[in-house]
């Protein structure tokens, strides 16, 4: 049975300016062992999607659609039932390791908490298990760290603790919301490798959220590119990176800093400017009626503004069908069909990319 099936998930926020849809009609499925990336600029609704899956939306938010975990719709679960899911079957790692741990409790206590809650372990057993988990996530001198408080750990170590905490009850699904954004570059890679390896070893499914295409490219099987709360392009990672289809995805890719570009020019001291997508993310409350990207898109026509463009299959250019890198359980043929984009001018977009 499909592990997670999200159908038309929408999140509506009650803001001062009226109701605003922060997430619009997200639809995807996730099998055991499969990994999915959500990528997009700040404010595009990535975290809201994750929180909706966890049932942890802010008080002002309402979710609609369905989030089915092995067939059962979590949105219909009672709060008590949801508590048995959280930390047990779905676990989450957050962006800010500095503030995501309670400063007044020891690391051991905080890891042990989920264990005694869901697995009914006693104090001693929970601490023993916490020790093992700390070793699993690669914290040196784990025995000593168990009694430490968060402020005694570095940012990278704290994120390892967060991961240990998330893994503690052996969840089916791990949601990692920008787990490396707050860390410095060398640590980022270590943490990302750790997450990838653990997900592989433990056979969990994972949703990895990032605004960094580079991180996504290395880490997940499938990608949803989000804009304005909805999916604008989705498909297997390799297919997307080979055939950047949606104008927004193309923009994101162009905005990605490439190695070597960062180097300062000796004479001018001016760094070569990064490509950025012109314009700003529109206010949620007054998103345009048609394509949400219309205001910033170079290819926009009246047709784009008329109605939201549906996700349509992206036909790969001939002779390039070997997208390869098929993950377990996904046939290569499906990968091709599986690549969708929500744009009415896909052909022009593709053509523009090729000529650039």
């Amino acid at each position: 049975m499909t592990l997670l099936s999200v159908e038309n998930l929408s999140v509506t926020l009650n803001t001062m300016g009226g109701p605003a849809r922060a997430v619009r009609d997200m639809t995807f499925t996730l099998e055991r062992g499969e990994t999915l990336g959500l990528v997009g600029e700040s404010g595009c609704g990535k975290s809201m999607t994750a929180l909706a899956l966890m049932g942890l939306l802010p008080e002002t938010a309402r979710a609609s659609g369905a989030v089915r975990l092995e067939g059962e719709n979590l949105l219909e679960y009672s709060e008590a039932a949801m508590c048995r899911v959280r930390g047990n079957r779905i676990a989450m790692v957050f962006q800010e390791p500095m503030t995501s741990l309670n400063p007044l409790h020891t690391v051991g206590h905080q890891i042990g908490e989920a264990l005694s809650l869901h697995r009914k372990l006693g104090r001693g057993e929970a601490q023993k298990e916490a020790l093992r988990l700390l070793e699993v996530v690669g914290i040196p001198d784990a025995g000593k760290r168990l009694g430490n408080y968060p402020h005694q750990l570095s940012g990278g170590q704290r994120q390892r603790v967060m991961i240990a905490m998330a893994l503690s009850c052996g969840p089916d699904l791990l949601i990692a919301d920008e787990p490396t954004t707050a860390l410095d570059v060398t640590i980022q890679k270590q943490i990302l490798d750790l997450i990838r390896n653990l997900v592989n070893d433990l056979g969990m499914a994972m949703i990895l959220i990032s605004h960094d295409l580079g991180v996504i490219a290395q880490s997940v099987d499938r990608v949803h590119v989000m804009y304005g709360g909805g999916t604008v392009e989705s498909g297997p990672t390799a297919a997307i990176f080979e055939h950047l289809s949606h104008p927004y995805t193309q923009g994101l890719f162009a905005a990605m800093p490439k190695l070597g570009q960062r180097a300062k020019r000796k004479d001018g001291a001016k760094r070569q400017r990064l490509n950025t997508i012109p314009g700003v993310v529109p206010e949620l409350a007054d998103l345009p009626a048609g394509c949400t990207f219309a205001e910033r898109c170079g290819l926009v026509t009246d047709e784009c503004r008329a109605a939201p463009p549906p996700l349509t299959s992206v036909a790969p250019p001939a002779g390039n069908a070997s997208s390869g890198n098929a993950s377990a359980g996904i046939a290569p043929a499906r990968i091709v069909e599986d690549h969708f984009a929500a744009c009415v001018h896909l052909d022009e977009a593709r053509a523009r990319l090729n000529s650039a």
Binding site: E79, R86, G87, E96, A114, H118, M162
Partner: protein
């Protein structure tokens, strides 16, 4: 011992020292000759002069300040002009009223504040929250001595459950003495409790927005468990600070409330000494109250270090 506590201890001593200087200067610089004030303007010059000598007013101020301080440090308090006994003696019986009163009021206001603040925060923006906030807004606005009068009206004049004032003394049984302090401590605690309750509520609401609270919920803890295990202790840190600062107001409140209920405590003694121009007593008592405030705040800092492991971090 941590650096934090050393720092706090130095501040503690400095504040205490400052309090003695301020008190001394206030009584020294301000116009008004204590001898003249005691004897009255019509007193013959010779008598005034004699009293000045007796009080040591002819000596330089610095000298008298150090006399006073070294006396206080050795437990020697001044001698009251009006009662002709040591201030210490005057204090003995009176502290037996003021300290229990302040403690009862403190406990009451803390219980009130934590339960109301917690309830309001858990009902955030619902009817319970709005009600508690409205009532506490009213509580803040009511002068404590008026509340005291209303309590007397209701419980002493109307219902006759309590007497309207006075104190039977502890030697005549604990219950009657305790009973005499009930209304005063309620009057004293209500305002403080209302202020603290509002503060507690907003501290809890603020803490509930912290990332680690979301982490706790993501582990599967219920809202209630999260509140008790993760929110409350963190929210207590700012609340405890305010509690310490409030203690000064609480002590000041005893002066007023003891007066309403005719309780022969320290507050009433201060007031009487003022009307009798008994400067020595006023001076010692003011420093005593200031010391109590400073000591309580020092203990608040200690409590801090117990609650928050970050403060124990930098051992020296």
């Amino acid at each position: 011992m941590s650096l934090f506590l050393v720092k706090r201890f130095i501040t503690f001593l400095a504040t205490l020292f400052g309090a003695t200087i301020l008190t001394f200067l206030a009584l020294e610089i301000l116009p008004g000759d204590p001898a003249l004030v005691i004897l009255g303007v019509d007193a013959p010059d010779s008598a005034v002069e004699a009293l000045r000598l007796e009080m040591g007013l002819d000596r330089p101020a610095i000298e008298r300040y150090f006399d006073w301080i070294s006396g206080l440090l050795q437990g020697r308090f001044g001698t009251s002009y009006t009662y002709s006994v040591s201030v210490l003696e005057l204090l003995e019986a009176r502290l037996g009223i003021t300290i229990p009163l302040a403690l009862m009021a403190m406990v009451l206001s803390v219980v009130m504040a934590l339960s109301l603040g917690l309830y309001a925060a858990s009902q955030h923006n619902k009817r319970g929250d709005v009600t508690v906030m409205g009532v506490s807004q009213l509580g803040i606005s009511v002068p404590n001595f008026w509340l005291a009068l209303l309590l007397i009206l209701l419980f002493a004049v109307h219902l006759r459950w309590f007497s309207a004032g006075g104190f039977p003394g502890w030697e005549n049984g604990v219950w009657p003495a305790f009973k005499a302090l009930i209304l005063p401590s309620i009057a004293l605690a209500t305002v403080q409790g209302a202020i603290l309750a509002r503060f507690t509520r907003s501290a809890i609401l603020e803490t509930m927005r912290e990332d680690y609270v979301r982490t706790a919920r993501a582990k599967g803890l219920t809202r209630r468990a999260t509140l008790w295990k993760h929110v409350l202790r963190n929210a207590l840190i700012p609340v405890v600070t305010i509690m310490g600062l409030q203690f000064a107001n609480l002590l000041a409140g005893t002066i007023v409330v003891e007066n309403v209920f005719a309780l022969p405590g320290v507050g009433r003694l201060i007031l009487q000494s003022i009307s009798q121009r008994d400067v020595v007593v006023v001076r010692d008592l003011v420093v005593l109250l200031a010391a109590m405030v400073v000591i309580v705040n020092f203990f608040v800092d200690l409590l801090y270090a117990v609650i928050d492991p970050r403060l124990k971090a930098h051992d020296i």
